[in-house]
């Protein structure tokens, strides 16, 4: 069964017809042709499909497109829409925080979300004091980035990259 929806993807409005079964991820990749978000498991178990959905990091593989009619989506490609890499992307590049690159757009979107969540004072499982404002320590970043699997094993570079993008001198 089909439905007509509108999405704003990386700043551009897109009208499209989707199957009610179509996920946001498949709408982006197979309908709109934006393959920046990746499919690594299709079941919310790897984080490769992470995008910013109405400003928050979210898994696009577990969101039905039809349920997000009108949503604003930013992919990793959209973070560099004006041609300049986002500071997170620049830090990933400098720190070689990836190898095969397949999990990378999801890692980048997730990291942008992490920095925002830390700015808002959101705690994490790694926060020793739940009521204090969190800092961008190694453990905080590693925990918050744990929803993004990297099979190439770039974690030891991802954490410094995210901290660097967050303004931590390391």
């Amino acid at each position: 069964m089909d439905a007509d929806i509108t999405l704003t993807v990386d700043g551009a409005q897109q009208r499209l017809t989707v199957d009610t079964r179509t996920t946001l991820l498949d709408a982006l990749r197979e309908r709109i042709g934006n393959t920046s978000p990746k499919k690594g498991c299709d079941h919310g178990q790897c984080g490769a499909c992470t995008v910013l959905l109405d400003g928050d990091r979210a898994l696009s593989c577990l969101a039905l497109a039809v349920a997000h009619d009108g949503a604003e989506i930013t992919t990793a490609d959209g973070l560099a829409a004006d041609g300049e890499l986002h500071p997170v992307q620049q830090a990933f590049l400098e720190r070689d925080a990836f190898q095969c690159g397949y999990c990378t757009p999801g890692q980048v979107c997730s990291a942008v979300g992490v920095l925002d969540e830390v700015r808002r004072g959101w705690p994490s499982h790694a926060s020793q004091d739940l009521t204090a404002d969190p800092e961008l320590s190694h453990d905080e970043v590693a925990e918050r980035m744990s929803g993004n699997l990297c099979r190439c094993g770039a974690y030891a570079n991802i954490v410094p990259a995210v901290r660097q993008a967050g303004g931590v001198q390391a």
């Binding site: 199957d19 179509t22 690594g40 299709d42 992919t75 990793a76 699997l149 990297c150 094993g153």
Partner: protein, 697 residues
């Protein structure tokens, strides 16, 4: 002996050339290839582990609007070659393992293809199956060779006699689990069959080697090489599983040929990958070590039992590192296989060395403990002057230096005593050696052309995250004696000259050698002022070759483990590796590769385990929620270092290969550290909290 290239670009830590595309997500992987009006393919898998298909009803699937075709063994084209039974898809009613593909549905959208696959009704005559690997399996056999062409068994001297008379012995059995490569990019193929085109078949496949991929497809479909083009600029990880094609590549091709002129896309699901794209066999390793009171080995032996599939043999060379690692007058290695009703095992990062450096390196730790000798010192005392197996001198062997530098960096001398406790955590430290052979493949050709004031080098190589896009221009620049910026290297397409598979840590060694031959030939022919369009090719077999030396990379890994006294939860706050891997072409990408191997080794130590359900004949935990790989929070202070090693025998770059050595020995080092923390010796991977619980206060 080779005169090494004068390193100018080599050794520079340049940023990845494909980096910007990857951080933006614009690097295009196989299934993402933009093609006109693609159809989508979804496989149907067998739900019995052994038997025959007695009926296959596709009518409900075909009745779905938008389903284009349903292929089964009843209507699929007959293949030109069915010799390789993994590749011989939809050719008969036989089911050889649960999860084997019994049909594919081609449809207008991915949702419809999946719906169609669900609607295919298959009935089976199930037969009793045998999928349980046991050390005493009655049908164990001795394979003719082990991967890729090693002797199955070796023996020298009398191990039994040495075991009977030695001062100290270790005789224990170790096991590694079944592992799945699980690259983040799921295996996928986009295929187009256009009979009217000059090259009728185009495959955009996620592969570690476009040329080997093409060769297999040509063989199976009876096509000429000129009729097939395989393209793969980017690979989302492979770790061996994309080193050889698997069933889906042939299914995608078959589906494309069923809808001529229309491109098709076949992406396996993560769940399907647990039965269709290979895995590392579980291994059972019976180890014997005998030593005199000073710790010198008198005997070393490993007897390996592992599995293969009934339809295709893959014999992991687990005992091979034991043949060369340490000096000992008496030695034995054997391999026995059980051929089971299971999916086909295959390559996974460091086949042989990865599992094969587990049992021996834990056994060495047990020996050190029994002798009261420091485990670093024990390894140093057993350093062989020459390769114990061949008697050849080493091209370079710096294991001792790796151990010493690692110990220094780690603070090994000041490590806490066994059973040390800090708060709620027991702290232990462990060490193990790493090794990986230095290889170069026999076939690879590079073509260099002068074009618009730049040098363009073409070779059908692959970059699966290894950095080939970045390091090959560095090598070519030095070989041509020009700036790195003046070189462009193109890879990942069968339109470029043939290249070997990206495997065995041999890619850079092989392709770099071919590039260097081509560069020298280019200068010889055209001098330093070439004309636009000047072009030559160079083959790796023209590069100087050394057979007189045994060539390996070595390393040492040091681990700090913490075990929670209440729950047994395991953490690894520190993991340091020091490697002697020849000359490092690009420190930035090399460090990533070594850390990546160590991370996967950590994952093997603590997490990975494809739990085989012997009743059903399948992996029970067949997704990424239940098949755990290491996550970011599992990794603490992880460091990779290397020696400044100059090896004039391996190749003109002086490089040994770094893709695999990082995963070897890691799991043993973790087990050894857990033992020091808790007193428990875990001989079966992975090390999970339930296994240490009984040792806790």
């Amino acid at each position: 002996m080779t005169e090494l290239l004068e390193p100018r670009a080599i050794g520079r830590d340049t940023v990845r050339r494909d980096g910007e595309a990857k951080v933006r997500g614009t690097a295009t992987y196989a299934i993402e290839t933009p093609v006109q009006h693609p159809a989508y393919v979804h496989p149907v898998q067998a739900t019995v582990p052994l038997g025959r298909i007695t009926g296959i009803d596709t009518s409900a699937a075909e009745a779905i609007e938008g389903v284009v075709a349903v292929l089964t063994h009843e209507n699929a084209e007959r293949l030109a070659s069915t010799d390789d039974r993994e590749f011989a898809v939809l050719q008969s009613d036989e089911v050889a393992f649960r999860g084997q593909v019994v049909a594919v549905v081609v449809a207008e959208t991915s949702e419809l293809a999946r719906q169609g696959a669900d609607a295919v009704e298959v009935t089976y005559a199930e037969q009793p199956h045998d999928s349980a690997l046991r050390v005493d399996h009655p049908d164990l056999y001795k394979p003719e060779k082990i991967n890729p062409s090693f002797e199955t068994d070796t023996a020298e001297g009398d191990v039994a006699a040495a075991m009977a008379t030695a001062h100290v012995t270790v005789e224990e059995t170790y096991s590694t689990a079944m592992y799945h490569n699980n690259p983040l990019e799921m295996h996928a193929t986009t295929a187009l069959w256009d009979p009217s085109a000059e090259v009728p078949l185009t495959l955009w496949d996620s592969t570690q080697g476009v040329h080997p991929d093409r060769a297999a497809v040509c063989e199976v479909f009876g096509l000429e090489q000129e009729q097939v083009r395989v393209i793969c600029p980017f690979v989302g990880g492979g770790f061996g599983s994309k080193g050889t094609p698997h069933a889906h590549v042939f299914l995608a091709t078959m589906a494309a040929r069923a809808v001529p002129g229309r491109p098709v896309k076949l992406g396996l699901t993560r769940q399907q990958m647990f039965s269709l794209v290979g895995y590392r066999t579980p291994t059972i390793q019976r180890m014997q070590l005998a030593a005199d009171r000073t710790g010198r080995l008198q005997a070393i032996a490993i007897d390996v039992v592992e599995q293969t599939s009934r339809i295709k043999e893959f014999a992991e060379q687990t005992g091979v590192p034991t043949r060369m690692m340490y000096a000992s007058p008496n030695r034995r290695t054997t391999h026995r296989l059980a051929a089971l009703d299971v999916p086909v095992p295959s390559w996974m990062r460091a086949p042989g060395e990865c599992p094969g450096m587990f049992g021996p390196e834990v056994a060495m730790d047990e020996l050190a403990e029994r002798l009261g000798i420091d485990p670093v010192e024990l390894r140093i005392r057993n350093e062989p002057e020459r390769d114990p197996e061949t008697g050849k001198p080493w091209s370079s062997r710096n294991l001792v230096q790796c151990l010493r530098e690692g110990a220094e960096r780690f603070g090994w001398a000041d490590r806490p005593p066994a059973g040390h406790r800090e708060g709620a955590w027991l702290v232990g430290t462990g060490v193990a050696s790493s090794v990986y052979p230095t290889m170069r493949q026999a076939t690879s050709t590079a073509r260099i052309r002068y074009e618009d004031g730049r040098y363009v080098a073409e070779i059908g190589a692959a970059d699966l995250g290894t950095g080939a896009w970045t390091v090959l221009p560095q090598i070519a620049a030095d070989a041509l004696d020009v700036d790195e910026g003046d070189v462009e290297v193109r890879i990942g397409d069968t339109r470029y000259p043939i290249a070997s598979v990206a495997g065995g840590s041999s890619g850079t060694n092989t392709w770099g050698s071919a590039l260097t031959v081509a560069a020298r030939e280019f200068r010889t022919k055209f001098g330093r002022s070439p004309a636009d369009g000047d072009e030559v090719s160079g083959d790796v077999d023209q590069a100087s070759k050394d057979d007189a030396h045994a060539a390996y990379a070595f390393g040492a890994q040091f681990v700090e483990v913490r075990v929670n006294v209440d729950t047994g939860e395991l953490r690894v706050p520190r993991l340091y590796g020091v490697f002697g891997a020849g000359r490092i072409i690009n420190p930035r990408t090399a460090r990533s590769q070594l850390l990546g191997g160590m991370t996967m080794g950590l994952s093997m130590a603590l997490h990975e385990n494809s739990v085989w359900d012997t009743r059903l004949g399948q992996v029970a935990n067949h997704d990424l929620a239940e098949y755990h790989v290491t996550v970011n929070a599992d990794v603490g202070d992880m460091q990779a270092h290397w020696l400044d090693e100059h090896d004039p025998y391996v190749n003109v770059m002086g490089s040994k290969g770094i893709g695999e050595i990082g995963i070897t020995g890691t799991a043993a080092a973790v087990v050894n550290a857990v033992h020091r923390a808790t007193g428990i010796r875990i001989r079966d991977l992975p090390v999970t909290l339930d296994k240490v619980l009984t040792a806790l206060p």
